[in-house]
Structures are given as C-alpha cells and as structure tokens.
Amino acid sequence: MTRKPVHFYQVGSFAVGNRLLDDENRTVQSNPNRTNSIDSGHRACQGCGEVLGARYALDAAMRASNGQLVAVNATGCLEVFSTPYPETSWRIAWLHSLFGNAPAVATGVAAAMRVKGKSEVRVVAQAGDGGTVDIGFGCLSGMFERNDDVLFICYDNQGYMNTGVQRSAATPPAARTATTVTAGPEPGNVFGQGKDLPRIAMAHDIPYVATATVADLHDLEQKVERAMEIHGARYLHVLVPCPLGWGSASDETIHIARLAKETGLFPVFEAEHGKVTGVSPIRRRTPVEEYLKLQRRYAHLFGPTPRPDIVARLQEIADENIARYGLVTNDTEDSVSTEVTA
C-alpha cells in the first residue's frame, strides 16, 4: 500500500486535517462536504467509538465510489441507535435485515446490481463483532468463499453491547462482561478462547483483509480506499472502543483505541490473498497496564487484590502479536517514518 509522505511537522502526520496539504491529499473527514453517512441525531452513547468508525469508513467508501454505495447492516447497537422509527441517521442507501445475515443480504444486493447492469454501485456490509464472529459467521464465511463483491466491515467493540455487555467470541481474555463476571480463580473472560477473525478471513484467500482503529483516521481511510479499488470479498476489522461496555470515560475513546494498537494487543495490518502486505508499526511502545487501567472491565486486575499474573499473561499476548507481525521496528520511537513508509 502506498502512502503519501507527510512532511508537515507542525500539523503532524496524524491530525484529521492539514491546511498545508492539497485538498485531494487531505482526509475525507477534514472535508466540510463529507457525506456524514451517519448523521447527527443518532442515539449512540456519548463518545461512541462505533458511530465514529462507521462514519469514517462509510464516508471514505462514499468518496471512493463517487457516492454509488449501498450499505447493509446487521442487527446491533449501530442499527438500533441509527434507525429508531420515525427517524434515521443514514444519508446513504441502507438496509437492515437480521442479526446473522448481513453478509448474505449484501451478496444479494451485489448480485442484483450486477444483473441490473449497475456495476458502479458498490456494496458494503457492516456488523458488530457479535454479528461478525458469532451469529453471522456462517454467512460471512460463505460470502468470503464465493468471493462475492462485498466489503464487509466489522466494528469490533469486543462484546454484545446492544444487549447489555455480554461476552462474544471477540471479547478479550480477563475482560469483565455480564456473562464473564469477575469471580473465581480466573476472573472475567477466560484465556485461550475466542476467534481471530482477520486471520480466519485471510485463510479464505480473499483479495483483501485489513485491521484498523478509530485512532488512526489516515490509516483507516487509506485501507477503505484500497479495499474499494478491489472487487471480490474484502474484510475490514475496525476496533471501536465502547465507553459503556469497557467502562471508560467518554472522552477516552480514541486514546484507548490508540493504546490498543501501541501496546500490541490489537495488531494493525493488512493482507492480500492471505499474505500480510503491510503493518502499522508501534510508534511509542506502551505496556498493557496503561491500556487496561483506563477500562473498568479490567478493574479487578488492579483492585484490592491485584493480579499482576494476569496482566503479565495479557502482556504476553501483546508481545506475541508484536513478534508475529513485526510491530516494533527501528522507527518505533520515530513516528515520522512510521507513517511515511508503510
């Protein structure tokens, strides 16, 4: 993936906008005429990461498709807070069917567009982690396997937040949810479970798989653009912190997403046809504690009876990711090259 070098130190490589760049080199989000695919008035919590991820991704997809976009949405927070009768927050053509069938519905839409000769219309399917890694998994795998022309975006907030924070196959170890309470010798979600969907997607040999977070808009938008350049099944896995489910302050959403990447707990990379083609190296390596301590779902690790042993196991997971994807490079303390070359 080619990235435009950014030399503007004052504005930094990471701010949303950059008055010193040409318009076409600025982010979609910095454009006053962005689509606002999901518009104001939605009922998302204060500081919701999912609605941010959705607007980032879909606005970028809208730019990439010149507005020729249809979105299919699985049941979940995003759907519930965006379309309670009589108001919808969507500014794009949007369809909600069921919890577990978004990939298949999207396949149908894509097929219809193809048969109708509307090849310019692109299809995006989106779901939370539950609708992706659990109940929607069968349909997703089928869509991948058939290489249907759909970009599937998973907004991963690591649990069933819509129903009141229950555990999903994307809930990380030790995290507290309503169905993984902080009792017993291994409080919270147990270790050694869960699905690594990006890698499962890669195993389908689909043309494009990528992960991203709401903390790095440039990276996210570039990945959406790349995905939209390709036809066939594509998968984008976006980490979107949930203040409610994670027990974090509403203003920490982006900060926490950033730490998830900087600790190595959430590797940010992309792959084509099953092979990793690029990673976003860690810029300022951070111990997992800094990430965990901002979230009440991990409070039991730092309570009256601290659990350094569990924290250490989480650090191991981060270190394994760092090793697997080579997230720490010579540039790790030097953000410039981190962003310029990738």
């Binding site: 004052q10 701010a15 949303v16 906008g17 204060q46 919808t88 203003d251």
Partner: protein, 541 residues
C-alpha cells in the same frame, strides 16, 4: 418512491432529534498564551508570525514581526532567544529554531526591500529620543508609527549604539545593521549624530518636546584597580570593541588576556584572535557553570582557539607578565582566595568587568531617581519626572538588545498615552499554554535543523559572519515544527473526531464552531485537540 409505513425511512431525518439535551458539560474553544510569546522580551507574537511562515507567506510573517520589532535580521543574529528556551517542543525533541526563522525573514525582507508599515497621521507631538541604540531606535520606530515627530540624537557618529559599537561584525554584519536602521530612519526621523546631550531639561525646553526618552545605554567599561607597570597595556573591553568597530583597532600584541566572564569578554577575546593574537586567554574567577556568558558563544570562542583560565583573578600585571591568584568556590558558590599564585605571559589585558551608564545629562533634572547607577522607571517606562521616559541598559533590566527593543516599544506606548492624554489599557493576559495541555501524539518528532557553521579556520582570520542563515526549505521546515501551543491551527481534529457531527467547520482562517443542538458533551474533541485550544465547562444550569 412509495415507501412502506414505519419500516422504511427517509434519509437523515434524525436531525430532528436534538441530542444536545444529553449534555452536562460543553466544550469551549479557547486561546492560550504560547510560552515563546510569553518569554519574548520584545513582546513579539512569535507563534503568530510562525503561522504565516508555515504557509510560506513570508512577507505576511515579516509584517506581523515588524509590527512589534523592526529588527528581525538583527534579532535573528544577536538575540539570545529566551523563546526557544521556553518552547514546549523542547519536551518533544528540540525547540523550534525561532531565531533562525526570524533571521531568514529579516534577510528576505532586506533582499526584497520590503518597506515598513506607513506611519499614522501627524499628531503634532514632538518627542526627543536620546541614544540611537536598540531601545532608542525601537522607541523612534513605534513613536513614528503612532504619528509623532521624533528627534533622535546620539553622541556617536553612527546609529546603532551597542549593536554597532559593542557587537563584533562577525556576529552582526554591518550591512545588515545599516539596512535595518536605515529602514527605521526612512520612516521620517530627524537624526542628530555626534551630539552629546549635557542637560536633558534644557534640550527638552529648547526643542519644545512633549516628552523625552532616555536610551543612553551603558557605555562605560567598569575599571578595577590592578597594579600594573607602565609598559603594561590595560584597556577596557568596551572601548576596545568600540575602537575596532570604529575602524581604529588598538595594537594589543600577540598574547592577549581578557578579564571577565560575560559576553563582552568573549567578544573581546574572539575579536583579538581576529586581530592576529596567537593567544587569547579569558581569565574568570568562577567556573564555567557560573559564567554569565551564553553557552553557544563560549562554544564558538573555544572553537576558535580562545582558551580559559577558570577560578583565577588578576593580582597584578607587570613586564608582560600577569600574576593570577587561584580561587576556590565556597559552599555558597562565592569565589574565595587560596593564596596560591601563578603567572601568565601577556602583551595586553582587556577588562570586561561590566559597564556603567553615563547619566551626566540628568544634571538638570535633579528629581529623576537614580538607583545603583540606573534610572528608576514605572511599567510605562516613565521616570518619576513627567514626560521623561527611560529604557534599555540605562534602566534596571537584563542588558540585551532584545530587552532594549521591548523597552523602546513599551516606552513608545507610554509616551503616546502621556502626550495624547489617554489611559494605557493593557490586553488581559491569557492562561499559559503549558506542555500538559497539548496532545503531542498528533505531532511527529523532527530533528532541529542545525545552522551551517563556517569552517573555524576562516572565522579566526576575518570578521566574516560566523553563523550562516537558513535556506528557505529549512526555514519552512523550522516554522512548521511549531506546535501552535494553546491556539487553534485548524487541524480539523475536533471536526473529524466528533461522533455526533456537532462541529461546524467555518472555512480557512475562520476556525470552527460547536453545534450545540447535537453536541452530547463527550469531550473527545478536547482530549484530541493537539494544541490545547478547547476546554470543557459545566453546562449552564
């Protein structure tokens, strides 16, 4: 399209749902005082002109600059830039090279012959400015801009004061000095050189001046009584530098000793080297840490072969031989005699032990309070005598050209208020933009551009400028390293990170505004603002 009831909804209808009612706190855009501006003795809006420079609007940047300080080229060379010491960027990597950018802008202006802003309509008020150093010239410039007539008198043959007679040409090329002074004089000033004012009151009355500004500086080198044989050549450094500047350098011989630890001592030693001295030794009674001279000046001096004798005092000087007493520092850090002596061969001794002000011109104005050899002034720079203002080295303050320029500006405003009979209102000072208020994630670390240095060898043999300037590329680079501490630079972060699209982008230079119909008060914009220009306040109840 005929859409089914309730199941299908028209796009964007949720804007009817004003989620602003969820808010218990609201974000607020603020402007905070950048540490560089806060530290600038001349009162420059450094961040302001850097902002223009970042975009490559160099003339705009220069105009913002000279609105405060008419000497960017000079300052860019001789200012000791406390702004860079204060720069928040120090905590990311290195301070922004503000001084270098200032010089770049100043030189560019001279190159393009950019003119200073036009003066205001004539007020009919006449001001006498005594002393054409940085303070006097600065006051003159600002007074003219305000529309007052100025007579600028100086005892020397050329304008510039210490900038010309104290600072060697290798630090401040005369062409630069002349150009920027000429530009100030060019705005219409009555200049009288070679004129010594003996009685300020008399001159004021004679010339019907509504006010006077005393900027006579500190021209008298302080002398101490050192036993010395007739053959021993002892000169004070100030006079030495003055004579060199005036083109009449005294003969010092091959071995020159300089006594003192200030910048003047370094200037004298380095000048001596350039005049052909093989040995230039600085004798100082304290150690390096306690030396008042600026670090980079010392580095350059050492680089040029100047040597140091720390913890030494001159006991006597006879027959080309200096007798030095070795000192030690007390626990409080004061030098104490040790009774141990050593000798040093020297052809001449330059005394750089500080300067005094010649206030003889105040003889007529007995009421002016003088304290410890300098004139007491109020915040308006007015002495306790109506209409008599003072600034620069003649008043209690750091004796640097930048401080003097600041005095000149402040005095001009004070004089203006005095002669026009208006009250001097000072703008409220913003809260300081400390490093903690920044979100530095959004800035990339960047190495500071090092100014190219001329090869040492060339420096030793002539007065060519030691420190080179920045190329445009480097200057732009430096300018863009500014973090814009405390003031919005329109990075669009707040506009981008709002989950509720509750930030309205008003367009280039117009910044942003919150849409409180929808803002839920999550605070992400505050957290993610790189420069700390947003704050949260409790929702009005």
């Amino acid at each position: 399209m005929e859409t089914p009831f309730a199941i299908t909804l028209d796009a964007g209808t949720s804007r009817a749902n004003h989620t602003g009612s969820w808010r218990i706190e609201r974000p607020l855009y603020v402007d905070r005082l950048p540490p560089c501006n806060n530290a600038c003795p001349a009162g420059e809006d450094i961040q302001g002109w850097l902002y223009e420079a970042e975009s490559g609007n160099y003339e705009a940047a220069w105009r913002k600059l000279v609105a405060v300080n008419p000497f960017p080229s000079i300052m860019g060379r001789i200012c000791f830039h406390p702004c860079e010491t204060a720069c928040n960027r120090v905590q990311v990597d290195d301070a922004v090279g503000i001084n270098a950018v200032e010089r770049f802008l100043g030189d560019l202006a001279i190159e393009h012959g950019w003119a200073l802003p036009a003066t205001a309509l004539d007020t009919g008020k006449r001001i006498l400015v005594v002393g054409a150093g940085p303070a006097g010239l600065s006051a003159t410039y600002h007074l003219r801009r305000l529309g007052h007539q100025v007579r600028l008198v100086d005892s020397a043959e050329q304008l510039g004061g210490m900038m010309r007679y104290g600072i060697p040409a290798y630090r401040l090329p005369r062409a630069t000095l002349d150009a920027e002074i000429a530009r100030v004089v060019g705005v219409g000033v009555e200049v009288v050189v070679g004129h010594v004012v003996h009685d300020i009151e008399a001159e004021r009355r004679a010339g019907k001046f509504d006010a006077v500004f005393l900027a006579v500086g500190a021209q008298i080198g302080r002398r101490v009584d050192i036993p010395a044989g007739d053959s021993s050549k002892v000169i004070d450094a100030v006079s030495f530098l003055h004579q060199v500047a005036a083109g009449d350098p005294p003969l010092l011989g091959r071995r020159v000793a300089v006594y003192g630890g200030g910048d003047t001592a370094l200037d004298a030693a380095r000048t001596a080297r350039r005049l052909g001295a093989t040995d230039a030794v600085i004798i100082y009674r304290r150690n390096r840490e306690r030396m008042p001279a600026h670090g980079e000046e010392l580095e350059q001096a050492l680089g040029e072969g100047v040597t140091m004798r720390w913890l030494s005092t001159v006991d006597r000087f006879e027959d080309g031989r200096l007798v030095l007493e070795t000192m030690r520092l007390s626990d409080q850090g004061f030098p104490e005699p040790t009774g141990e002596y050593e000798e040093l061969d020297a052809d001449s001794l330059l005394l750089a032990l500080g300067q005094d002000t010649d206030l003889s011109l105040l003889n007529g104005a007995h009421d002016v309070v003088v304290n410890d050899g300098v004139v007491e002034v109020q915040s308006t720079m007015m002495t306790n005598v109506d209409g008599v203002f003072a600034g620069g080295d003649a008043v209690p303050a750091d004796r640097t050209a930048t401080v003097a320029v600041g005095h000149g500006k402040r005095a001009a405003r004070g004089i203006d208020a005095y002669v026009m009979g208006t009250a001097l209102e000072s703008a409220p000072k913003h809260e300081l933009a400390t490093f903690e208020k920044l979100n530095t994630w959004y800035y990339s670390e960047a190495p500071r551009t090092q100014r190219p240095e001329l090869e040492r060898i060339r420096r030793q043999t002539n007065f060519e400028e030691v420190v080179g300037g920045l190329t445009e590329e480097n200057a732009l680079f430096e300018a863009r390293r500014c973090l814009s501490c405390g003031n919005c630079f329109e990075c669009d972060n707040c506009f981008g990170v709002c989950p509720d699209n509750a930030v309205i982008k008003l367009g280039d230079g117009q910044r942003y505004q919150f849409d409180f119909d929808f803002c839920k008060g999550c605070g992400i914009c505050v957290k993610e603002c790189p420069c700390g220009a947003i704050t949260m306040v409790p929702e009005r109840t």
